[in-house]
């Protein structure tokens, strides 16, 4: 009974439908003959129009009506889907999105903008460019109207729906030639339930709309309304049959039919007196006629539609809309529970009671499962975000006059909703960049012996506990010399520095690196690559760029599956405890005198014949206290690189609820967050990629390390 809620549903539904519309339009470009797509397109706009009408959003109805007409002509092959028409339709879609999202915007400027769009849309058919409702006065043909018989369920008002709203909408579809309110069922004031609906309506509607369209007006109230429709120019028999079916009796409704001219007095009289004779003499069994009535005009099309309807309902039932906020609260609570359960386990294990220990173990297993399940709830496929790029690529390609094909793989790869939302902007930026700078203009491509159509790929897949998203193009690749020259100009690198290609490519992520000269209307405005990197790092992810001269550029974004809770591996150095994400840990080995090379300049370990660079956490974080006799090495793998972290003790697995580090420590390299242990102590989560960079750099870590690391460490410990 809450209208706001209904409106919210309408908004959500419209968003989905508009997204569908965009997707279908883009698909249609590839397969212009697909009738199913045409129908789906028409349906989506039609539903938007219908729902908007329900909520009295007249400006939306007026605008969508014209678009709908055009789509109708399209699916009937009266017009052809040209590139211009697709453009216009896409723009109209955007306009509808605006109208729907911001109803307050129904002002002059929007109106003008809308009218202009419609004019472009209907360029081939100028008289259709203005929103207009079909207007024809009745009077010529007494059975030219659709007869619609409505009996509403008593609960319809409680569901926040006003029967008058539907009639109001029918009025938009055509001309209401007659409306009769049937209030026979209305009890006296003392007996009625004021929130029940007791009304029925007999309506004659003159319209060009078809049966489906009229039926769809009542889609919203499906199940709460008995709807009977008799098409124009039906047989006398059909009207008489309807008379019999209506609960108010033939005489009562007959008079209404008479008044609206559907029946003549003679016809009505005849039916009332010959009722019984008629049935036996007509030769058509009553049941059969009934079947005909409900299935006209085309039984096949009708049943197909109903099937679709059922499918849609089925689909709707499989999902439950939940406020994201509620999920967040749940995840937070689960996080607290994980910490509490760690504390329970700890206490149980410190005691002697086996039973307690067993129960604690059983509980932690369950907690772990609950944790996984609740995190699963927030997982959404990245497909939608990828789909959105389709449109961007198309628009950019048009603007730059390039031919670009977007290939998407792994659209159903799932990751945390928050991550999906936040990755959208950086991804868009990378895609725009690739279209603009990555892929060369047509002439250049031909000169380079490539196909004129450039290819842009978006790929997503899992890799050792992380999600990889790749944006790659088959363009010219990064211009090494130009980047180097620019970086030198900006003082980002010394002119005589000895840099590998990779080092140079990474310069594009530097804050001072501007692409000012390369600015076009597509990219170069708004955020730079440094912001892309910062956004990705804020998600505890990394981005790297690979480029091959003449063959293309590939951006590889690596993101954690979730931002909230991970499986961690605990280890300790002195009094400090550190957590490494478990999926990065490859193995643990003991640090023996034989295997290690203690040369200060190059600390490494011979691991079964392979060189493993070592990073001594004790030295790196300047942990005080004596080095124990035995030390261990945690072999971690990240993005194909391995290093060994030297720690004192290995403490085993730990469910880690990630707590962000204070702003103060945000610049500290090597730490990505903190967590609370069962004992209530704080453990630091190691930023393995960051540590790896330090370990791989040629300069000894001790010198490079900033004093703030020590400060952070001290602060957290004490």
């Amino acid at each position: 009974m809450n209208l706001d809620l209904a409106l919210q549903t309408f908004l959500e539904e419209s968003r989905e439908l508009l997204a569908d519309m965009e997707r279908i339009l883009l698909d249609l470009e590839a397969a212009p003959e697909d009738a199913e797509l045409h129908n789906a397109l028409f349906r989506s706009i039609h539903t938007i129009k219908g729902s908007a009408g329900m909520f009295g959003l007249e400006h939306v109805v007026a605008f969508t009506h014209v678009v709908e007409n055009q789509l109708d002509r399209l699916r009937k092959h009266e017009i052809v889907l040209t590139k211009d028409l697709t453009n216009a339709l896409l723009q109209c879609r955007d306009h509808i999105a605006l109208l729907v999202e911001i109803p307050d915007l129904a002002d002059e400027t929007m109106q003008v903008a809308g009218d202009e769009l419609l004019q472009v849309l209907c360029a081939d058919n100028p008289h259709d460019g203005k929103p207009q409702k079909p207007e024809r006065e009745g009077g010529h043909d007494r059975r030219e109207a659709w007869h619609i018989s409505l009996r509403f369920d008593s609960d319809v008002l409680r569901h926040g729906m006003d029967p008058a709203g539907f009639i109001h909408y029918l009025n938009k579809l055509g001309t209401l030639r007659s409306v009769t309110v049937i209030d026979d069922a209305l009890p006296e004031l003392s007996d009625m339930d004021a929130e029940n609906c007791y009304l029925g309506f007999e309506i004659d509607l003159v319209t060009e709309a078809g049966q489906q369209e009229i039926k769809q007006v009542f889609e919203f109230v499906d199940g709460l309304c008995e709807l009977k429709i008799v098409p124009p120019h039906s047989d006398l028999h059909d009207y008489l049959l309807l008379l019999e079916q209506l609960p108010e009796g033939q005489q009562r409704i007959g008079e209404i039919f008479l008044a609206s001219g559907l029946l003549t007095r003679a016809e009505l009289q005849q039916s009332l007196t010959q009722e019984t004779v008629d049935d036996s003499s007509s030769g058509v069994p009553c049941e059969q006629v009934q079947a005909e009535l409900s299935d006209q005009p085309t039984p096949a099309a009708d049943s197909a539609l109903e099937k679709q309807q059922q499918n849609r309902e089925k689909k709707a039932n499989q999902y439950l809309r939940v406020k994201a906020e509620k999920l967040d609260q749940l995840i937070n609570l689960v996080g607290e529970m994980v910490i509490a359960s760690a504390s329970v386990s700890l206490n149980a294990n410190s005691g002697d009671e086996t039973a307690t220990r067993e129960s604690a173990a059983a509980m932690s297993l369950l907690v772990e499962e609950i944790r996984d399940r609740s995190l699963q709830l927030r997982m959404v496929p990245i497909g939608d975000t990828f789909q959105r790029q389709q449109r961007i690529v198309r628009d950019v390609a048009n603007e730059l006059d390039k031919e670009i094909e977007l290939v998407i793989t792994g659209a159903d790869t799932e990751l945390d909703k928050t991550v999906v939302e936040k990755i959208s902007d950086p991804l868009t930026h990378l895609v725009r960049n690739a279209c603009d700078h990555g892929l060369e203009p047509r002439a250049k491509r031909i000169a380079a012996g490539k196909a004129t159509k450039g290819q842009l790929r978006l790929d997503a897949y899992h890799e050792s506990g992380a999600i990889i998203i790749e944006v790659s193009d088959d363009g010219a690749g990064l211009d090494r010399e130009r980047i180097l020259q620019k970086a030198t100009e900006r003082g980002l690198v010394q002119s005589d520095a000895d840099l590998t290609d990779q080092d140079i490519f990474n310069l594009i992520f530097e804050p001072g690196f501007s692409t000012a000269e390369l600015v076009t209307s597509i990219s170069g405005r708004g955020v730079g690559m440094d912001v892309v990197r910062r956004n990705i790092e804020a998600l505890r992810g990394t981005v790297e760029v690979h480029s091959k001269d003449g063959a293309g550029t590939r951006f590889r974004i690596r993101l954690p599956l979730t931002l909230a809770i991970i499986d961690g591996f605990l280890s300790s150095v002195g009094d400090c405890t550190y957590v490494v994400p478990l999926e990065m840990v490859e193995e643990c080995v003991e640090l023996t005198r034989f295997s290690q090379n203690t040369n200060k300049q190059s600390d490494f370990l011979n691991l079964r014949g392979e060189v493993l660079p070592l990073l001594r956490l004790r030295e790196h974080f300047r942990v005080t206290g004596a080095t124990p006799r035995r030390q261990n090495v945690l072999v971690v793998n990240y993005g194909g690189n391995r290093i060994g972290l030297v720690v004192d003790d290995l403490l085993g697995e730990h469910q880690t609820v990630i707590k962000p580090l204070n702003e103060l420590f945000s610049r500290v390299k090597g730490l990505s967050g903190s967590t609370i242990l069962g004992t209530g102590k704080v453990a630091l989560i190691l930023d393995v990629p960051g540590l790896m960079q330090l370990a791989m750099s040629c300069t000894p870590v001790q010198e490079k390390e900033s004093p703030s690391v020590v400060a952070a460490q001290q602060k957290l410990i004490h």
């Binding site: 009974m1 008002l157 409680r158 006003d162 029967p163 008058a164 709203g165 009639i167 109001h168 009025n171 209401l176 007659s178 409306v179 009769t180 309110v181 209030d183 209305l186 006296e188 004031l189 003392s190 009625m192 004021a194 929130e195 609906c197 007791y198 009304l199 309506f201």
Partner: protein, 99 residues
């Protein structure tokens, strides 16, 4: 301004504000209280800002009383609904109160 105001002197019931499913039950109770025995002569609808079918049902009931009350001074909202449903004849356009 009172939501409902019944003037016993001239039998006029004035309704202010919305007359929708949300207010239908209180409205019905108020009607019941004052409609009995022909006390209700006119219903002044000039202050009705919104009306739906729940409100309509109440008004239909009022005009169906053994001694029907007249619906007068319909606001634009009320007029719009009655004209959509082609029930304009139920509205008393002469307005004003009878003596």
């Amino acid at each position: 301004m009172e939501r409902f105001d019944f003037n016993a002197a001239n039998g006029c019931l004035t309704i202010n504000g919305e007359l929708t499913v949300y207010e239908a039950e209180p409205a019905r109770l108020y009607f019941l209280q004052h409609c009995t025995g022909g006390a209700l002569r006119t219903v002044d609808l000039s202050g009705v800002t919104e009306i739906d079918c729940a409100g309509l049902q109440l008004l239909l009931n009022v005009v169906r009383l053994p001694e029907p009350a007249r619906l007068v001074s319909a606001s634009a909202e009320v007029s719009a609904l009655f004209s959509l449903l082609q029930m304009d004849h139920l509205l008393d356009e002469s307005g004003g109160l009878t003596a």
